[in-house]
Symmetry: C2
């Protein structure tokens, strides 16, 4: 009758965050990273800040599209934005994000057997 599957697998490991708000934020970050176009921008920004026009020429995409993608990434709190004269420079928000992006890309590069 009782259908519990693995009774010994129920420690109260209160890891970090199972509350809705943090989950929402984490999901937003994941979703932002979850598109090749945006991930390409993140990969480029891994090697330092870039302005929109730079990213435009490096990716071959239209300025509008690049800007839109940067907005999604910024709203997800992955990027930092700074205006400097005519240009707007974007860079990864912090080291935590750097690690996150690096891990995602490097894991995908593995053949993970």
């Amino acid at each position: 009758m009782n259908a519990t599957c693995a009774p010994e697998d129920h420690p109260e490991h209160e890891h970090p965050p199972l509350d809705a708000e943090h989950l929402q934020r984490a999901a937003r970050m994941g979703a932002a990273m979850g598109e090749p176009g945006r991930l390409t921008l993140l990969a480029l920004l891994l090697q330092g800040r870039h302005c929109v026009s730079e990213l435009t020429t490096e990716t071959g995409e239209s300025t509008s599209l690049v800007s839109q993608r940067l907005k999604v990434l910024t709203d997800a709190e992955l990027l930092h934005r700074r205006r400097e004269g005519k240009h707007v420079y974007y860079s990864l928000a912090d080291d935590h994000v750097r690690i996150l992006v690096r891990n995602l890309l490097s894991h995908a590069a593995d053949d993970h057997q």
Copy 2:
């Protein structure tokens, strides 16, 4: 006239993977993590393997929905699937994924200054 923005920002840092295939795979992983429902499952699996019915009762969602989400996560190579009698047990694919999920959740928990 010439509108190059930051001429000194062009080192050939060939980090890891900017080729389309890896990018695609990384993006798929990101997208899979990019939804609260699926991220909840990943968080639960962070503390050990679970079968579908366990996850169903723990999340309060329908079996169908949980199974669908698990499929997305498995297709993204984030989960490992193992049948054991009537039950199907899911667990995080490897330590790399564990780190990835942990980082994503913990970064979202930070107030990121």
